[in-house]
Symmetry: C2
């Protein structure tokens, strides 16, 4: 691997995505991408006694599906990088505690999925054969933890996003001919002083801008190099802010840019206000829909940019701002 | 780098620890290691309005001290790996939001510090010049979050450990002649069914055993190879369990084994029950005391094993067990 520019690593051996898997909840099953997911749940509890246990089960079964689809024996998988939004990342650690694969817990809020791909790809580039990357979220466990328990029936402001119930995961390999990772651009923490915990898109868009512009400069590429630039998850409001910020910086991303929070739900039929969010959004949209577009060569070059809001519910109560971060990975076939 | 055995990576270029820094709270300042820390606080609030803000300030100032001691300009540092115990790891993200260095948030509970060294050392081994590894904890913010607010004045059971108020951090470099990382052994999640959130030592000891034995087998080494085997933080109860478990597995670690949770407080004068704990314990004990022992060659070969309990306060309320993990790094001079 080779460092280029300020924050980008260019790979020489091209870590390859040989398999993906995704499981989503009932609302996501009614969205436009339903057919791309491995499993759509009819009930967000999935027979468990709590939302948290349901989320862990989704993680566990997604990774089981992943391994089974890949045909790789579990004991050949050398590392697992995983994280989620629940306090102390228990959805991942409880979901994967029986996996028996060396485990790295990570936390980048909704940037976790791409962070897990970035770290895994550095291991693969340097001699490791197989790794798992994984991220999840659950609408009900996230609402209870970050905002209000669902039973309160609180109103949601128009800027709010809907946390996706879902998990996405993938296996990276040092061999294979699937879509491969060509570059990773690692994000800095960017804090522009946004304090509204119901407007994550606005809080995260400046971080997305920072990582995107850095990526373009580091790689000497223009937005038009990519068939698609996909963020996850700025939603409608964050997307519009990012397009405007990029435009002001001299980069026109509008023609080939979209956001997983917009892709996963149907705006006209599903009222999610500003779109989807949560680690599980970009994770399931990539592992389901986008990976299929790459495999079938409908998209050949994509830049996947995951954005995270690095706050908790107490920090907002203590009057803190919401720092953002964005992690990018360039994938080609 | 070269994978040896099941879970160990052997480095060829030997990522070097060129600088460390540590800041601890007032209780730690009264302990036997006080003189090794860069700064000992007189007040755990450090002029801030909340324990959480105080912890973020400790992180920020520790890393500022680290960079200043190292003489490396911040813009030469390519990645920062950091984590803590507070929900969504805000101590790290708020503490380091002005750092302007590409950031990877990680979570391994009290194994976080060694996880941050492991990941950073893989980057350094493969062409990156400088990285920061960092972990922190704060007694007051941890008690409020995991157990009870201090104002309640709850009694603590004899098995409980005292979360260290402190932060430790280090810079790894591809050059230099300080103590260097020779191997990392990455841990699996191990869940032996312990449910007592006031007995973390017992919950984490089986994970420490698993990683230790794997390390000895992977490297073909015996415990006697090391001048010191140091866990963080099993405390008194966990230490005794680990010695017994190792003995049953045919490895006698007793002569050269100790635990950071035991080292940091004075058992006879400071009543912490089963010893210290928290990400900040092994982080500050290594960055302060152990690094000094290595630099002055009082210790030449150490195996540092950080253990984490991958639970949150809600998981215990939901009747869950406490999965553990242990991450190991071999350091020599």
């Amino acid at each position: 691997m080779k460092k280029i520019g300020k924050q980008t690593i260019q790979f020489e051996k091209n870590p390859t995505i040989i398999s993906t898997a995704s499981i989503v909840g009932p609302k996501e099953a009614n969205g436009p991408l339903a057919k791309y997911f491995d499993k759509c749940l009819e009930d967000a509890m999935w027979g468990e006694k709590s939302w948290e246990k349901a989320e862990s089960k989704i993680v566990k079964e997604t990774v089981n599906t992943l391994i089974s689809k890949s045909g790789i024996p579990t004991n050949k998988i050398e590392y697992c990088f995983a994280g989620d939004l629940i306090n102390q990342c228990i959805s991942s650690s409880f979901g994967l505690r029986e996996l028996s694969v060396p485990f790295y817990g990570i936390f980048g809020a909704c940037s976790t999925f791409v962070e897990s791909i970035q770290l895994a790809s550095v291991f693969i580039e340097n001699g490791i054969k197989y790794t798992i990357s994984c991220a999840s979220s659950h609408f009900c466990s996230a609402e209870r933890q970050f905002r209000f328990p669902l039973e309160l029936g609180n109103q949601r402001p128009p800027t709010s996003q809907w946390t996706v119930t879902g998990c996405g995961s993938l296996i990276l390999s040092s061999n294979g001919d699937g879509p491969h990772i060509t570059h990773i651009t690692s994000g800095k923490i960017v804090d522009m002083g946004i304090k509204d915990a119901n407007n994550m898109g606005a809080a995260m868009a400046p971080a997305a801008l920072d990582t995107l512009i850095t990526h373009f400069k580091d790689t000497n590429r223009l937005p038009s190099y990519y068939d698609a630039i996909i963020t996850g998850d700025l939603g409608y409001i964050g997307r519009d802010i990012l397009i405007e910020l990029c435009d002001k910086a001299g980069y026109n991303i509008k023609p080939n840019y979209n956001d997983c929070g917009i892709l996963i739900f149907d705006k006209s039929k599903q009222d999610t206000h500003s779109g989807g969010s949560g680690c599980g959004c970009i994770a399931s949209v990539f592992s389901g829909y986008l990976f299929e577009q790459l495999k079938t060569k409908k998209l050949k070059k994509i830049l996947l940019v995951a954005t995270g809001a690095l706050m908790n519910s107490m920090s907002s109560q203590q009057g803190e701002t919401i720092p953002g971060i964005a992690q990018a990975v360039s994938i080609e076939i």
